[in-house]
């Protein structure tokens, strides 16, 4: 069947079997290789993307379910030159070890940050619970998310002061170490 997918704001017309998982299309057809194939069972979260703003497992989402819906992948958050807020925070905290789970981690965290202005520790942990890191860098990943929350708060304060030259989500913001308690 022909299906039109809206990914990171751009429409893509594809000729695929309707039951094809979104992940296969992202990686196989569109060279959007951020999302990874981990388990194929919705148990690990490496394939996480946002669908209509919510974190979803792309390995278990058939393309026939996606017509007319907004898909966002890690590529939609920023680039190596201009990383997004979470990408910068993950980089600053060196939250990746092998990196396989990280795109999924970031996209799940993004869904939380889109919904909650300043999530607390319990909210972050409950929300991230479905995504696994086999290297065991969960503590650094949690730190990176806390850093992103703090960076955004700082950015907002800056904006309120009228200094708009340091918007949140830029490398400048990441370069400023954010002081916070580390459990």
């Amino acid at each position: 069947m022909t299906v039109t997918l809206t990914i990171n704001g751009a429409a893509h017309r594809l000729e695929v079997d309707p039951s094809t998982p979104l992940l296969y299309v992202l990686r196989g057809e569109l060279a959007l290789n951020g999302a990874k194939y981990g388990c194929g069972l919705g148990q690990c979260g490496a394939c996480t993307v946002q669908i209509d703003g919510k974190a979803a497992f792309s390995c278990l989402t058939p393309v026939s379910a996606l017509e007319g819906r907004q898909i966002r992948t890690v590529e939609g958050l920023g680039t190596a030159e201009a990383p997004g807020l979470l990408q910068a925070a993950f980089e600053a905290e060196q939250a990746a070890q092998c990196g396989y789970c990280i795109a999924g981690m970031i996209m799940r965290a993004q869904a939380l940050l889109d919904r909650v202005a300043e999530p607390d520790e319990a909210q972050i942990r409950a929300h991230m619970q479905t995504n696994l890191c086999r290297c065991g860098t969960h503590m650094r990943i949690l730190r990176a998310i806390r850093r992103a929350v703090a960076m955004r708060k700082e950015g907002r304060k800056e904006a309120q002061k009228g200094t708009r030259d340091a918007p949140a989500g830029t490398r400048q913001a990441a370069a400023e170490p954010v002081r916070e308690a580390r459990p």
Binding site: S19, L41, Q43, A55, A56, L60, P62, S64, R69, T130
Partner: protein
């Protein structure tokens, strides 16, 4: 002068009524005690209490999501409003630390708090009053040796006038007459042990029996014919069961012990925490429970399936023809685990063809599993399924449910699926 006489008479009648009612509803406070020392209870008694508390599932209702165990705070939605479970840790100020054994027994049997206030029957004292003294003492010893947690009770949110607790005395007058458990002559010790645990501490009927308009469980021939729990259908445990393969004591034991049985299904929804508790209960007790439950559905006069129960079916081709869109969604979202030959199914997991959820009159269990997934309690092992609430719309979840019904059941198609899916999602976002 007549109106004044009438008014006077009416007021007098009211006063008499109130007086009589106060007489019925009044319960005295029992004296508070200093919290007993944890090392004052024999270790064997505490250990026995731990297994009984696991069978009784105390921790499930008395623990809030992510909260301290037994410290209460969990919301219990009822048709009459929302109750918040109380703190049953031995904290003197906010828990049951100042409760004597007598106060504890009175709460468990008569539903009266230490201060004399009536407790709502969400605490299934209609079951607990069947429990023997020694077992209540063991549970008391177990609870009084937990870590005290200071957690004040959250105020309940009941519909008017049910926030007025003395009214519960009327409810009890009508519905609270269960005697202490007596063994049934002619049944063996294992069956009687199972009956004691199921009817008493296990309070299985709390979900699996229908309730009347006053919220009391129906007994007699209606007992265990199916009920509702937190929006899930609690299937019938009697011959009215819709399980495509009849339950046996062995399959019930596997299900209650491990959370799944290869010929039936997995424990989902409120049943998940129940089997988690039973996974830690003594094996002999779980076997006894299985034997007793199996006897509830045994057809009188010998074996054989009730005529009403069709065998397990799987009409993949017919369903794909009737509903290609549903089949495509199933193939992309579900087949990786649930299609014949999927890795999960080669490891003894139950196929959808044997799942009771797809044979029920209500689609609630199927839709809830699809949208919210199945999660073992935090930190525990158990059957798991990812939620599809983010990847599927209400219409798509409804489509998959309709496809499953066509493929795996001969029963009439479910109606208003999309609306039901929307309601489940709405409920989920409220929490």
């Amino acid at each position: 002068m007549k109106p004044i006489k009438w008014a006077f008479g009416g007021a007098l009648a009211c006063l008499l009524g109130v007086g009589a009612f106060a007489g019925i509803s009044y319960r005295s406070a029992l004296p508070p005690i200093p919290p007993p020392a944890a090392d004052g209870f024999p270790a064997e008694l505490v250990a026995k209490g731990a297994t009984l508390a696991a069978i009784g599932d105390c921790v499930v209702c008395h623990t809030a999501d992510q909260g301290a165990a037994y410290a209460g705070g969990r919301a219990l939605p009822t048709p009459f409003g929302t109750l918040y479970a109380s703190n049953i840790t031995p904290d003197a100020a906010t828990g049951i630390g100042s409760w004597s054994l007598d106060a504890f027994k009175r709460a468990m049997r008569d539903g009266v708090g230490r201060d004399g206030s009536h407790l709502y029957p969400a605490l299934p004292y209609d079951h607990y009053r069947r429990v023997h003294d020694g077992d209540l003492e063991a549970i008391y010893a177990f609870l009084m040796t937990r870590q005290p947690v200071s957690a004040p009770a959250k105020p309940n949110d009941m519909i008017f006038p049910l926030g007025f607790r003395p009214l519960l005395a009327g409810w009890k007058l009508m519905f609270l007459h269960q005697p202490e458990f007596q063994p049934v002559p002619g049944r063996d010790a294992q069956w009687n042990r199972g009956a004691y645990l199921v009817e008493g501490l296990g309070h299985c009927g709390g979900c699996h029996s229908p309730r009347n308009l006053a919220g009391a469980e129906e007994d007699g021939s209606s007992a265990y014919s199916g009920g509702v729990a937190e929006g899930w259908t609690a299937p019938a445990l009697t011959a009215a069961s819709r399980a495509p393969v009849p339950w046996t004591a062995d399959s019930l034991y596997a299900y209650l012990r491990a959370g799944l049985d290869g010929r039936h299904g997995v424990a989902a929804g409120p049943m998940g925490p129940v089997v988690h508790g039973l996974s830690r209960a003594p094996e002999a007790d779980v076997r006894a429970i299985a034997v007793y439950i199996a006897s509830l559905s045994a057809p009188p006069g010998g074996a054989g399936q009730p005529a009403d129960r069709p065998p397990a079916i799987d009409r993949a081709d017919r369903a794909a023809q009737a509903d290609p869109a549903g089949a495509a969604l199933f193939a992309g979202a579900c087949a990786g685990c649930h299609e014949a030959g999927a890795p999960m199914l080669t490891q003894g997991r139950p196929p959808l063809a044997t799942a009771t959820a797809l044979q029920l009159d209500e689609p609630a269990n199927a839709l809830r599993a699809i949208l919210n997934g199945i999660h073992p309690p935090a930190g525990a092992a158990g059957p798991a399924m990812p939620p599809f609430t983010a990847s599927l719309t209400d219409a798509q979840a409804a489509r998959i449910a309709a496809y499953l019904r066509t493929r795996f059941s001969d029963r009439p198609a479910w109606t208003d699926l999309e609306q039901a899916a929307a309601e489940i999602r709405e409920e989920d976002t409220r929490q």
